[in-house]
Symmetry: C2
Subunit: 815 residues, 2 copies
């Protein structure tokens, strides 16, 4: 491969730095109106009535709508492909505005006004009367007898779903596995762990807030310009929410300032569309502020798990169990998919000799809604699995690296439940590379018996992660290529650039397959659902794999058409072309070709004699240049003899999946009295198949590692007992800053995956996964203290160190 | 046909009335900068230097560029397809800003500022020094010995082109024809006419001024949103003007407020792009005000012709000649095409027994540039031909209707010069219908011998008009159709809606051919050259013929794909589909189909057993409904078994042409002392093939007739002897208002044209053609005075009536 695999500069690098790249707000028409959502100030209850009289008198107010005005249509918000099987459809559990308040900040009304100030003033002037119920912000409260049911129309209780799955015999249970282990090994040759691990609710913290604007166009269509990862799904869901046919909804996705899964839900586009329709189709902007973005859009699920394991003292995992409870908040969003994913990968990550049992519960609570976030349940899953592994190792005195080498998911593994497996396998090589980088053996030994207030440790964690969602859900993507007069092309996809570099790697793929030079491929970055090929969008680390194959298939067709036309031209060297400015170019090309191939004049040239390289038609044998593509294109457009506008378009339905894997190794220095963890060194090693663009791949990993550091050490969305968010802002909610971030080291084990269109497999989400458990395990190594709850804040660390006698207990007087 | 031929309401009617339709100005981003062009205040000369010091100090000024700054690249502006044959390429005779001033108002500098006021102030503050030459605003002056040559780099004199063409023997000349006529008939049996006719320079007067805005996007691309008829041509010419590859230019065409040919030139888009690029790619608006639009963009050519004819006294045209001089103004624009077209149709319109000779001269002058305008030379041509015909009739005492019936272009006519001919022929039927409507015989008799100050008359004129530009130039058009989840489609074309109703008739065509209901076809009205199929645009009355065939071809492909998928579904009634919500629908459809066709269960269903009607899959035999297209579409999008996004795209290279024809009959009342012509009754009768939409067709004719009335009676752009425009505003330049406009009657002779995609042929431009000569001939009938110069203003009429003794000469004292 010539272009794929090169470290090309992002196609949007310059445009993003200079401000040329247009984001949603850049495209707003003049005289646009502003809308704001009015959020509930209780966490559980029902809106009884509004008094709008004062609010409607606020100067500049155009329209106020409340939850009593909106259509009586419930719709889902998940960024999933639609299913024509009812049981696979997402849960329809919300309206445009909700009378039943299910979380603090629920959407109960909206104001459209001339400007933001008028919106704010009006919202403050609205009087609302609630019937209030006790908040049930935790899974425990939501499952307690007598808890109010948040969606009584859909469920008898607050459990969205419970799944039970096993690895091993169909009737496997952990209890039976434990019994079998005891029978084989004898109780004293076994180590048994039974623990509760907790991961926090965190926020995506994309820089660009959820923002959109909508207006009505002719044909009665509504157009929504939105910062979304999934324009085609926004289109479908908006239609569903309005009770409209899909064809009457148009969604435009410009450049977006981050999403990380939060913009894989259809958040406010349907409401934005509805608001525009209420005022005769005028353009209305709807932006959600930072506070409500953090607490009121989507979060990574808080999952509490009880994990159990039995291992032989000689270092074999025999059986494991997870019982995971995902706090889904007020709305279903992605439903049970994320908790189920958590359970699946918990099972897959180790080769339990006897079996593994997993139960996942996804529970409605009156708290912030959980949805998709980079890793989709796997950061939690891997935290649980990797805490458990190190806890086993500690108990049996095993080296965590050797133990993992012995027990981790092996080459050739295929999950019998869903058929997903490895088609290329680099996990153990990743571990070797990471261990070598961090000087594992040396440092595990060196840091064994430390004393004093500052101690060091090294830790690791591994993961595996699938690529896309087949066969759990539909994988489909389309691509279109359009030849320009200068021999360049437009590359149009439904797949979306969301900052991850998709546009750049698609450009490389198109250049690779068609033979056009990289500079001659212009990717159409903006998706307009009226004309963009269909694609479900950016999620599940799927695009370079699923949509990438659409690029490849389309590129093959496109190139065939180019060669076909080139052959026609070379056969017309004495015909029509001889009247044109290209007469001499084509005539001499034909002569060269005749000479190279030993053809007589007049022999028919066929496409298979030709190839495209570096934007030139060349001889397939030997690669000698015949003529530039610009000559072909100009002729194809304007030939009086055979004018054809060369385009190609096709769908790729992907029926494959493959595991990526990798690991994180980290060295920390723990300051016991201060409760501080300083990362001294860190490396992520990834097995993601062929790297499409090593520079972008590294950047992708950097971002994920940074998120992993925040997940491990500082990020947590806090709520009061009555369900109010306590830190929904970027001052009190702590993402790592540049000052908090060490040098991030990245390595790859680059194996060609035979199922990937260009040997590639998932890389988008994986980097965020292994960092937090590696940190936790390093702290364990340094201090002997197992931190079973994330994030490892100073408060939690000091409390744990005190509990383990490493620090004195503070007395109430601070003595 | 079910949908084509129906009087559907315009698809954009509601959106245009309510303001939902977005025009260029509606799409401007906030904080856009404004640019204005500085126009020369001399008509002929050279800019020597600028003093910008004061202008640059005007608050709000961002950038001033002058003719000394712009790239040294000459480019053409004509909205023609590109040609790969140098001799067919348009003339490159201007730069973005010009140092050589060739007309009053030439573009010599441009200012970018925060707002319009700052632009205006800065322009007033620019000091410019010229070297001035004598203006040469007329053809006579431009051709005079010693006249300054306006484009000395391209031509030795001011003649852009001269063509000589004949109908009859190759060596035919009018002089020989006259001689031959004398030999055959004898001199006393002949009538000879030798006259000069003049048509004025007029303005298109589209309501929306030429406006665009440009900004730089990522990939280094420049985007231009513009009110144009020809987005793909704007793209190519802008690239040429900037010296850029076409792939780096993107043009977006929103709804436009009229063009009538003026927006078939690439007027200011290249300059707009250049200005944005000078300030780092920021968005800049460039709008040309009404004054400069009228005098500085394009105009309909002033053509002066000497026409001669010889006819036999028994009513046969024997030979004719035209020598036409087109005043092209300062720039070539469409070059000689318009004058040549004028000559061609002069020849074609009558069957000269001996022959016809035509000479056309297109001449640069230091006056407003002539370009495309509705009719493209034929309003002039037909004025000349039809004045000449009535002048012959008057001389030999023939009835103009009978004379035309005898001598006009006959059924089956093919122009031997270009191969264009009639494939359907309704001209004589049109004349019959018009004559019947106006009570021709009765009124010709009744108004024969009038006296008194107020007199009536009836007049007529005929015309023929080709459809598109084949084989003179390339005809190529593409279309793409995209299926939506609800079974509706997007219809995407490069052809443009410019107010003429193209979107509506394309929608009808797509519905007709695919079987979707009219309401289920959503036309993508905005062309974005990044993704829209290629089309050269709206001109030459070509789109419903050339692009219409692209719709038909694409629709056939699209429907094939639908039927293919339908067959797959009907064969899968027991397979994948049985798990979906559509199981029962498809199963029962299959049963019905089996019953209708007498098939056994399990027989393979093939696409040819099926059809699409009214957005439903039906049985081809009998039309019984099987299932709605929405079921097919939802399955095709989301099938886990076979997901395919159904689209179709294809090019139509049109190698056909066909004549439309028609006539205008008018009754006038002439008030001699006041010099007023009141239209008492008027009818246009058109032979335009099958009417795609009778309501829109009628509206199309109304608009053309209105333009014809203005051309005949009031419109003329006046210049001072030093080349300054005297009436470039809508107060002093007189287009007909509602008060000036009589009831406009329209009739059609609807014959199916076998070459048209739906039996249709040109209708866009024809209505504007025959009105003015019919008026002139009615005035001739009423008064006996032949008005040989348009428009027939009161001043001209009174002067002529005085000259002919119908009015007393005014004495200098008004006695």
């Amino acid at each position: 491969m010539k272009v794929v695999g090169e470290g090309k500069t992002r196609v949007d690098a310059y445009g993003k730095v200079t401000g040329e790249a247009k984001y949603t707000a850049d495209l707003e028409p003049a005289n646009i109106l502003t809308a704001k959502v009015m959020h509930a100030t209780i966490a559980n209850g029902v809106v009884k009535r509004f008094d709008l009289s004062e609010a409607e008198r606020v100067p500049g107010v155009v329209k106020i709508v409340t939850c009593f005005d909106v259509p009586d249509i419930q719709f889902p918000t998940a960024g999933h492909p639609w299913s024509t099987e009812t049981k696979h459809q997402d849960i329809c559990d919300r309206k445009l505005l909700n009378t039943r308040v299910r979380l603090f900040g629920d959407d109960i009304a909206a104001v459209v006004a001339e400007d933001e100030v008028a919106c704010d003033r009006a919202i403050r002037a609205v009087k609302v009367e609630y019937e209030e119920y006790p908040p049930i912000p935790t899974v425990e409260e939501a499952l307690a007898a007598g808890a109010s049911v948040l969606h009584p129309d859909l469920r008898e209780d607050n459990v969205i779903a419970h799944t039970h799955m096993v690895m091993g015999p169909d009737d496997f249970t952990y209890e039976r596995g434990l019994q079998e282990a005891e029978e084989i090994y004898g109780q004293d040759q076994l180590a048994v762990i039974d623990k509760e691990y907790r991961t926090p609710r965190i926020s995506h913290c994309h820089i660009e807030l959820p923002t959109s604007f909508a207006y009505q166009d002719v044909n009665g269509k509504i157009t929504i310009v939105s910062s979304t990862q999934i324009p085609h799904i926004v289109r479908r869901v908006t239609a569903q929410a309005l009770g409209w046919p899909v064809g009457k909804v148009r969604v435009i996705k410009p450049y977006i300032g981050g999403g990380f899964g939060n913009k894989q839900d259809v958040l406010y586009e349907p409401l934005n569309a509805y608001l525009s329709l209420q005022i005769g189709g005028r353009a209305v902007r709807l932006e959600i502020d930072r506070e409500n973005t953090i607490s009121g859009t989507r979060t990574r699920h808080e999952i509490v798990s009880r994990c159990r394991a039995v291992a032989s003292r000689d270092g074999k995992i025999l059986a494991r169990q997870i019982q995971a409870y995902a706090n889904n908040g007020g709305y279903a969003s992605h439903g049970h998919a994320i908790c189920a994913n958590c359970c699946t990968v918990f099972k897959d990550l180790y080769a339990d000799r006897i079996g593994c049992e997993a139960d996942g519960y996804t529970v409605y609570t009156s708290a912030a809604t959980g949805g998709a976030m980079r890793g989709y349940g796997i950061p939690q899953s891997v935290f649980f699995a990797e805490c458990l592994t190190d806890d086993i190792c500690r108990k049996i005195g095993a080296d965590p690296l050797k133990f993992r080498m012995e027990n981790c998911v092996p080459e050739g593994f295929v999950d019998p439940g869903n058929g997903i497996g490895f088609h290329s396998y680099g996990l153990k090589k990743c571990m070797e590379a990471g261990a070598e980088y961090i000087h594992w053996d040396e440092k595990r030994e060196k840091y064994k018996n430390q004393t004093g207030p500052v101690r060091r440790g090294v830790g690791m964690a591994i993961f595996c992660y699938k690529t896309g969602v087949h066969p759990i859900s539909l994988e489909t993507a389309s691509c279109r290529m359009i030849l320009n007069q200068d021999g360049s092309m437009q590359l149009s996809l439904g797949a979306t650039e969301i900052g991850q570099g998709a546009d750049t790697v698609f450009t490389q793929m198109a250049a690779e397959t068609t033979g056009l030079s990289f500079e001659n491929v212009y990717v159409v970055s903006t998706q307009d659902t009226d004309t963009a090929p269909f694609d479900t969008g950016a999620y599940a680390s799927r695009q370079s794999y699923v949509s990438g194959m659409a690029v490849k298939k389309c590129g093959i067709q496109f190139k065939e058409k180019l060669l076909d036309y080139a052959a026609y031209m070379l056969n017309s060297d004495t015909g029509y072309l001889s009247a044109t400015v290209y007469a001499e170019t084509v005539r001499s090309a034909r002569k060269r070709l005749n000479r190279i191939l030993g053809l007589r004049e007049g022999t028919e040239i066929t496409a298979d004699m030709l190839d495209v390289a570096d934007s030139r038609i060349v001889c397939a044998a030997g690669g000698e240049e015949l003529f530039p593509l610009s000559v072909l294109a100009d002729t194809a457009f304007y030939s009086l003899d055979r004018s054809v506008h060369i385009t190609a378009e096709c769908t790729n339905q992907c029926r494959k999946n493959t595991f990526s894997s990798g690991c994180c190794f980290v060295e920390v220095e723990v300051d016991l009295p201060l409760g501080l963890v300083e990362v001294k060194d860190i490396v992520n090693v990834h097995d993601s198949g062929k790297l499409l663009n090593p520079k972008l791949a590294e950047a992708q990993v950097h971002g994920g590692m940074s998120m992993g550091l925040g997940y491990g050490l500082s990020e947590e969305l806090l709520f009061s007992s009555d369900g109010r968010p306590l830190n929904p802002n970027l001052l009190d909610y702590k993402i790592p800053t540049a000052m908090d971030t060490p040098k991030l080291n990245v390595k790859f084990i680059e194996l060609v995956d035979p199922t990937g269109p260009y040997g590639n497999k998932s890389l988008g989400e994986p980097p965020a996964i292994p960092v937090a458990p590696a940190l936790r395990n390093a702290v364990l190594h340094a201090t002997g203290v197992a931190m079973d709850e994330l994030p490892m804040t100073p408060q939690r660390l000091i409390a744990a160190f005190q509990e383990h006698g490493l620090l004195k207990q503070n007395t109430p007087n601070g003595e």
